[in-house]
């Protein structure tokens, strides 16, 4: 029909830019899930008994649960016995420096432009790289430890900081929380652990790159971030994944805790492989992300740019428990081809004068389905609570869908809740207007999309914002622009 559609079709044929497979001998668990497998994982990681028991409790609870089906996505049933639950790159001994890291691994990181190296360290980013399931290199640890900041893999935290882990793990997302969170609690492989002590402002953005490798290996990341009283931390999470023919399950859990006057800023750029034009081979991304503003005047801010995955199911949420605490959610979710996304947030207002802001920008292209699902709940004691929600949808082409499911539960009459929603379409007349000024269709669509997402991008740390913009145009290359 239009240039727009033709462009979508043309771009849909662009190959996934990050599709390559690293050939590293994996150290794998056999397929399937049972108590022995869980003990195997726990043993493999040299975990203490309390951790093994926690996993087993989660597993036993998981067995009693049913996979949720209320979300606005469709996929064929997952055979949980056909998944490998543990895979780690072979590591002969503890590594002290980058030189000791498998050069193939380093090459992979280079291809992805992952800032594991000197120049990036100079740029002020300490990177805890999670390759498959085990952290292979951690940088800048020393500098951080001078400030008392703990930034390490979850496995290390379990060994070296058991008290913190025992106190906070599962305190925001209990192992009984939901089907995928329970599964994660039973089999989680690794992830990041951050603790910022009282009154410390983390001087740099902390960042971890996740990458799914080894075929048929589910990734079960577990991340826990604690900001003690008056502390501040900004954390970046970014993902790319190689091309696959069989769907891969990714069920991560992220828990954030902010105590009195503490702030946690969590930014994600998610680019898991989305499958081919027909949706074959993409990642299933079923994630539980939740932050607890436990202390008074604490603040948790989620910013996410979601462009990947065949299916995304994810609601980064805030529990606003402390009086005067603030929760924020800024999201750009782009779906293309056959992608499906059901994403949004939950803002649970418990404390007095708690405030929350939701800005969600959905972009649908191709034949994709993009749903915003959000809950704003104002509890009976949340005097003077305020929420503002804005949910916008942008459609590219006429074969995609955008849906909005806002839920509101207000149990306190002094609360103020505002909701705004818009749906717009990139029109042929807009594209032609820009064409007539010398701007080609791809760039025209990028301009419009970036303009549309501006409110969210400005919440991202500078270099991440640039990356996010680049990612959107790469993703739209497969779609519109």
């Amino acid at each position: 029909m239009s240039t727009e559609i033709k462009t979508i079709e043309k771009m849909a044929n662009t190959e996934y830019k990050y599709g390559f497979v690293t050939d590293i001998e994996a150290d794998e668990a056999p397929k399937g899930l049972n108590e022995d497998i869980i003990r195997f994982i726990s043993a493999k990681k040299g975990e203490p008994e309390w951790m093994t028991q926690w996993r087993l409790k989660a597993y036993r609870h998981w067995l009693t649960m049913k996979e949720p089906s209320w979300q606005n996505v469709k996929y064929s049933p997952i055979d949980y016995q056909d998944i490998v639950y543990y895979s780690a790159p072979k590591q002969k001994k503890k590594l002290n420096s980058m030189e000791e890291v498998d050069p193939k691994l380093v090459q992979t990181f280079d291809k992805l432009g992952i800032p594991l190296e000197e120049q990036k360290i100079l740029a002020g980013v300490a990177v805890d790289a999670v390759f498959d399931s085990v952290s292979v290199a951690t940088t800048y640890k020393e500098k951080l430890s001078e400030l008392g900041i703990i930034f390490c893999s979850m496995s290390e935290a379990i060994k070296n900081h058991p008290d913190l882990v025992k106190k906070y793990l599962g305190s925001v997302v209990p192992y009984t929380d939901n089907f995928f969170a329970s599964l994660n609690s039973a089999v989680f492989s690794d992830g990041s652990f951050i603790y910022i002590p009282k009154g410390v402002r983390c001087p740099m953005e902390l960042s971890t790159y996740f990458r799914i490798n080894a075929e048929n290996t589910g990734q079960f990341e577990r991340t826990l971030i604690i900001a003690d009283e008056g502390a501040y931390v900004s954390y970046l999470e970014g993902c790319t994944a190689p091309m696959r023919d069989t769907n891969q399950l990714h069920a991560a859990v992220v828990e954030l805790v902010a105590l009195d006057n503490a702030q946690v800023k969590y930014s994600t750029v998610q680019n898991w492989y989305a499958g081919d034009v027909n949706g074959v081979g993409g990642i299933y991304n079923f994630v539980t992300k939740r932050g607890a503003c436990r202390g008074k005047s604490s603040k948790i801010s989620w910013t996410q740019v979601e462009t990947g995955s065949a299916i995304t199911w994810k609601y980064p949420s805030c529990i606003l428990q402390g009086d005067n605490s603030i929760g924020e959610f800024y999201s750009v979710a782009l779906t293309n081809n056959m992608q499906q996304a059901d994403t949004g947030t939950k803002m649970i207002h418990i404390g007095k004068n708690t405030r929350s802001t939701i800005v969600s920008k959905g972009i649908s292209a191709g034949r994709s389905q993009n749903s915003y699902r959000g809950l704003v709940k104002i509890g009976p004691k949340a005097e003077g609570a305020r929420n503002f929600s804005q949910c916008d949808s942008l459609l590219l082409g006429d074969k995609c869908g955008a849906h909005t499911f806002p839920y509101l539960e207000v149990d306190n009459p002094t609360a103020t809740v505002e909701h705004e929603a818009t749906t717009s379409k990139i029109g042929e007349d807009q594209i032609f207007y820009l064409n007539q000024r010398g701007i080609k269709t791809e760039d025209a669509v990028n301009l419009i999309v970036n303009g549309y997402c501006k409110e969210v991008f400005k919440e991202l740390p500078m270099e991440f914002a640039v990356e996010a913009q680049r990612l959107l145009s790469v993703s739209l290359e497969g779609s519109v622009g």
Binding site: E428, N435, Q436, R437
Partner: protein, 257 residues
């Protein structure tokens, strides 16, 4: 500069243009007039490369190059500018970002270096004076929430900044009061006076605009054909007599012309 030869075009099977011939030389101002539905805007759209028209016969060349095989953006980069009858609103993109992108795309095409932010701002400041566009308008989203007059002025502002070879004004005068009309006309004249090579095609309904942008040639388009060409006196005659006499003269079907 621009040569339209025996151009036939249709929209959804309906023939709109039925053999247009038009030659515009550098430095000339041509006015294309005619009643509603005569095909004026279609002609402008086809020259600019809008989708949805099928050219069934004829050719359009610009400086010897075949325009019809060129993408709309390349036509713009070659130096064709269309001032839209209905400028499009693009929320989320500021005029500044939009124009900087456009200027640099055109410069790249010409093999010129891209302007940096400072150079661009200098260019903008100079051009803003011409059409009396102020800073606030410049930083607002493209045409978003602009009044009709502001939109048209913004078109002329873009004309000034992008500095094409040929400007096509598609009913730029519609919906303008006399003051806005003068500003717009002045903008076009300033563009024109920059060099002897600049050409303008004014598509309009009324003679009014031609008091300010004086045409070298006036063509009357009726029923998809240029049925009369003359000098500016023809426009005055049309103003006085209306289009009815043209219609009467041309009521006999196509083939005789």
């Amino acid at each position: 500069m621009l040569t339209v030869k025996d151009l036939y075009a249709s929209v959804e099977e309906k023939e709109i243009l039925k053999g247009i011939n038009l030659k515009v030389n550098p430095g000339e101002v041509h006015a294309i007039m005619g009643p509603n539905g005569s095909g004026k805007s279609t002609l402008a759209s086809i020259i600019a490369g809008r989708e949805g028209y099928s050219v069934t016969n004829g050719s359009v060349t610009f400086e010897g190059k075949d325009l019809l095989s060129m993408s709309p953006e390349d036509r713009a980069r070659e130096g064709i500018f269309l001032a839209f009858q209905y400028p499009v609103e693009i929320p989320g993109i500021s005029n500044a970002t939009f124009l900087k992108t456009a200027v640099n795309e055109i410069r790249k095409y010409k093999g010129l270096e891209e302007l940096d932010a400072m150079e661009f701002l200098a260019l903008i400041r100079e051009k803003m004076k011409i059409v009396g566009i102020d800073q606030t308008l410049f930083s607002r989203p493209v045409n978003h929430g602009f009044s009709g007059g502001e939109k048209k002025r913004n078109e002329i502002f873009q004309l000034a900044v992008l500095d094409p070879k040929l400007a096509i004004l598609d009913e730029t005068d519609s919906g303008l009061d006399i003051d806005a009309l003068k500003i717009v006309a002045n903008g076009v004249n300033v563009f024109k006076q920059q060099s002897k090579e600049k050409a303008v095609i004014v598509v309009t309904h009324y003679q009014r605009l031609l008091d300010y942008i004086v045409p070298d040639y006036v063509h009357v388009l009726y029923n998809g054909r240029i049925v009369k060409s003359g000098t500016k006196e023809l426009a005055l005659e049309l103003e006085e007599r209306g289009y009815d006499w043209i219609k009467e003269e041309n009521n006999i079907p196509a083939s005789t012309k």
